[in-house]
Subunit: 278 residues, 2 copies
């Protein structure tokens, strides 16, 4: 079985590491020769091949590139694969890619998925073998995929040790805007704010406790990956940010009015997260 991974960075490279050795040949495809070379050196893939050649022999094609590139590439990939090949994408938004290929004659060869796994790092060097272990992957619009395609992708996620759940793509994009993408925006904004005031980085270094480090961690995330995600999920994120700003305004007003009991109330309400995350 030939597995073609388009994009050998954090996600694709980690998938390569975890899928190697299961009677498979892992073929890496990427536009950047240096990253391809690095993927080989790190053992993320068995070989590197040009895009068109790889698609001719691929049985399972994994798309692990930024969401905008995935959206642009998916039609061409479906046009070029073997008739029984299966294509799965691993990008973080699902509505647009599902729309783009809704009426493609090979729609049934395709499975739209989003493994909820990642770190703040990117590129081949960020790949780790257990990135996906015990995490959740979401498959969208499964009724539009063939049984065979779905079965193959479920097998893959079993090897990656992921728990699969199902959603429609709109629901996915809505929920993920709140639970994942908003976290990234709040970290980016925290980083920008702190650096605006702290011209002297030594202050940040000295005063940063583990709390700041944890809250700002995602601000290290790759702009190539995240700018397209935020752009693609514009509608849901705009609503999420409106709600976020309303709560932020409540804090700001309570702080400015020195209303300790209102602050106590807001923080107590925020503590509800304890119920979900131990």
């Amino acid at each position: 079985m030939n597995i073609v991974i388009i994009g050998v960075g954090l996600i694709g490279g980690s998938a390569g590491l975890a899928l190697r050795g299961f009677l498979t040949t892992i073929i890496g495809v990427g536009r950047n020769p240096e990253k391809n070379k690095r993927a080989m050196e790190l053992g993320l893939v068995d070989k590197i091949m040009p895009y068109d050649e790889a698609l001719k022999i691929g049985d399972l094609i994994i798309i692990a590139i930024p969401v905008d590139s995935a959206e642009n590439l998916i039609t061409d990939v479906l046009n070029k694969i073997k008739s029984d090949a299966v294509v799965v994408d691993m990008s973080s938004t699902k509505q647009r890619i599902c729309e783009v290929i809704r009426n493609h004659p090979r729609r049934r060869n395709f499975v739209a998925s989003h493994p909820i796994a990642g770190t703040e790092y990117s590129g081949p060097d960020a790949a780790i073998p257990n990135l996906f272990t015990d995490k959740v992957s979401i498959i969208c619009e499964k009724e539009l995929s063939s049984k065979e395609a779905l079965a193959k992708v479920l097998e893959m996620y079993k090897i990656l040790k992921m728990n699969v759940i199902y959603m429609n793509s709109k629901e996915h994009d809505k929920h993920i805007a709140y639970v994942s993408q908003l976290s990234h925006i709040s970290s980016f904004v925290l980083s920008l704010t702190v650096f605006e005031i702290e011209k002297d980085e030594k202050n940040i270094f000295n005063l940063a406790g583990s709390g700041f480090a944890s809250t700002v961690r995602l601000a290290k995330s790759s702009p190539d990956m995240w700018a397209p995600i935020l752009e693609q999920n514009s509608e849901h994120l705009s609503k999420a940010l409106t709600t976020y700003m309303n709560y932020l305004n409540k804090f700001k007003t309570s702080i400015e009015e020195k209303d300790k009991s209102k602050l106590h109330e807001l923080i107590t309400e925020a503590n509800i997260i304890k119920k979900v995350l131990k």
Copy 2:
């Protein structure tokens, strides 16, 4: 040497754990009998004593209670200690407590400090022996403390394995608003926002990656501790929140206008945090 710890929760209890056994007797003082009992059971202190009695025999008094309680109590503590006793507070804001006792006849017995250490948990059960290890503690207005008092507090921080730096209290409160307190507010707001939309907690549980968990972690923090901190640092936080909201608005506008290149620019700028936090 008798060390009196007023407040045997996360901070005071952790200090007790780390200071026991250095030819010292650790005396816990607290208003809540259950927490006092728990502190004894956990071995955070050698004994529990009533407040007035403890102050009569204390050589070093550590104040580790919420900032508003500390502000209210400090004058009374200084009135009641032995004439050569040293008082150190460990609370997270420094301007108000320094103002309150600026003209106290025993101001020189007092050292204002803020160990930058903590977790999102609170109470005696949250105490851990290495909470302070290798972290930074800030001492404010050191010129207003006697040499002897300062020396004793530095000795204590040496046992706690902390690196001490010096600031004036206004600078402290300004910087800490950005680097610590803003992180907490952004976590509280993230938690509130996600729970407003995700009525079904299962969704949060399923969709929450490690990124969300890390960014929202501080939202578990105690309202008893944090409401007074935010209230006390009102002025600096109001400015910090204004800057934060400006950047948030830039993200919101760029997202709504689907301006991918502006988003790319903002995220790239936020990536500067990589320089400070490895």
